[in-house]
């Protein structure tokens, strides 16, 4: 059991800037929840609280029933800017967390090789990050998180820095991984389509100070309408049920923006 729970969470930066105001949100065990919101609404702050990079000003953040006090390998993070170690090869980057756990080398090597195979980079095991494209680097970052077999996976706009084509491939890949090997996932994005495509539930955040405005259950509709019969993301996005959910969330977000822009 490892659910993520935010209870009446406030976060104020520097005593002045209120980023979060009474956030209530629960991500159930092995559930995939996406938070969508405008830039600067505090959605990344939610993830950083769950990761233990920040402490709440008020309220409680718990993971698996325990208060979060510090970062740790039970809550693996995939960063928007990848945050790989440039001086380590692909294999060394992925192996690093396992070394910290004190895993014997033979077992570690097998796990790392399997993880590199999973992301399709076996030919690049000894390459340095700067020799890889952005999409490949993000795959390494995802493998570095997955290989720890963490209870909880925290993803902060992981595909935000990628070009559109690469992003689609990565989204399909993540869906495949998440369905095959479900984890408790908190996924931060400003992309509504991405959130609806990936998540079991989508939480809509208000403008700063951030609050959870609405939670949309995607999973019920996804399973009822059998989205999994469509392998490609663009086919899913054409479905009436998908369009309906997307439009609903769009409108919810747009009210927040006072009808200006998109």
């Amino acid at each position: 059991m490892s659910c993520i729970r935010f209870e009446q969470v406030d976060k104020t930066f520097g005593g002045a800037v209120k980023a979060l105001d009474g956030v209530d949100l629960t991500v159930a065990d092995r559930e995939f929840v996406a938070i969508v919101g405008a830039s600067g609404c505090g959605k990344t702050t939610c993830l950083r609280l769950a990761a233990g990079f920040e402490a709440p000003t008020g309220g409680h953040v718990t993971v698996g029933g325990k208060a979060v006090t510090a970062p740790g390998p039970d809550r693996a993070v995939v960063f928007q800017q990848f945050a790989l170690f440039p001086w380590k090869t692909v294999a060394q980057n992925i192996a690093f967390g396992l070394r910290n756990k004190g895993m014997p080398a033979s077992e570690r090597d097998a796990r790392v090789a399997a993880a590199i195979g999973m992301i399709g980079l076996s030919a690049y095991a000894d390459a340095y990050p700067h020799q890889l494209s952005g999409g490949m680097q993000q795959r390494v970052a995802i493998a570095r998180a997955y290989v720890l077999e963490p209870e909880v996976l925290l993803m902060d706009e992981p595909f935000g820095a990628l070009d559109a084509q690469t992003r689609v491939v990565m989204q399909e890949e993540l869906v495949r991984l998440a369905r095959k090997n479900p984890r408790t996932v908190l996924f931060i994005t400003h992309g509504v389509e991405e959130a609806v495509y990936l998540a079991d539930r989508v939480a809509v955040m208000t403008r700063r100070p951030g609050r959870i405005k609405e939670i949309v259950d995607v999973k019920v509709i996804r399973e009822a309408e059998r989205w999994e019969d469509h392998a490609r993301i663009e086919d899913v996005m054409d479905l009436e049920s998908f369009v309906h959910l997307r439009t609903h969330i769009w409108k919810s977000l747009r009210e927040e923006k006072g009808g200006v822009g998109h």
Binding site: Q81, A83, P86
Partner: protein
């Protein structure tokens, strides 16, 4: 290896300078040999320095003596300065304790320490090593400190979330992340070591390149002064090149990095 256009241009410039030197001295006699030596004078001085020796030992002996002082001063600076810089970059308390000391001591030129060094340690090598250390230590500390402070926060956070133990964090995350800046500091340290060496050896020495320069000046021997200067230049450039080689090996991962 194919020589580039730049190499040819550079070599040509040096050749022209050498020719002008010859013309101005031996060739046309525009500059008197007492003020600036002709190429022949320098050659004769070099032959004397390497052969019979000047004033009482061969140039190789002097070079080895100077090299030893620089090597010790530089090595101690690096061995103490880099760890201290890492500590200051990572630990706020250490930074708060140590930084004020640096702020007070830094504006004092290393050479201003020479009288105190002599008072404490006498005219021997120890005082000279101390002065070289005082010159080479601050750049090593300051650059390492700055390098650690410039490590991108996501890299630090990635290490934290991967459960990295403290020592491994310093050795495998902070140090490599700061490595390019650390090497910049080491280059500055090395340059400071050579600069200070000559000045330190000008006072109360019985061996070394600074001593050669000092005696040659008293002997009114411009050819030998140039030999001494050239020796310092060659050693400085050579050791900097060695350091560059070490840097390329150490930060092989950054080669061709675009970001």
């Amino acid at each position: 290896m194919r020589l580039s256009r730049r190499t040819y241009v550079g070599a040509t410039t040096l050749l022209v300078l050498a020719l002008l030197w010859y013309l101005a001295t031996s060739g046309l006699g525009l500059v008197s040999a007492g003020r600036f030596p002709a190429p022949g004078d320098v050659e004769a001085a070099a032959v004397q320095a390497f052969g019979r020796g000047y004033p009482d030992a061969t140039l190789v002996t002097h070079i080895l003596h100077s090299l030893k002082l620089v090597a010790i001063g530089f090595a101690v600076s690096v061995a103490l300065g880099v760890p201290l810089g890492l500590l200051m970059g990572w630990n706020r308390v250490a930074e708060a304790l140590i930084n004020p000391v640096f702020l007070v001591l830094r504006p004092i030129p290393p050479l201003a320490w020479i009288p105190l060094a002599i008072l404490w340690l006498g005219l021997g090598d120890e005082a000279k090593v101390m002065v070289i250390f005082l010159a080479a230590f601050p750049p090593a500390v300051i650059s390492t400190h700055a390098g650690v402070r410039a490590v991108p926060p996501p890299v630090v956070e990635a290490a934290q979330m991967l459960g990295t133990p403290r020592l491994r964090f310093v050795l495998e995350v902070l140090a490599p992340a700061a490595a390019p800046m650390i090497f910049t500091g080491l280059r500055l340290s090395l340059q400071a070591s050579w600069t200070t060496l000559v000045a330190a050896e000008l006072v109360g020495s019985l061996a070394g390149l600074g001593y050669v320069l000092n005696v040659a000046q008293q002997d009114l021997y411009p050819g030998m002064i140039l030999v001494g200067m050239a020796a310092v230049g060659v050693l400085g450039a050579g050791s900097t090149a060695l350091l560059g080689l070490a840097e390329r090996r150490a930060v092989v991962w950054a080669q061709g990095a675009t970001e």
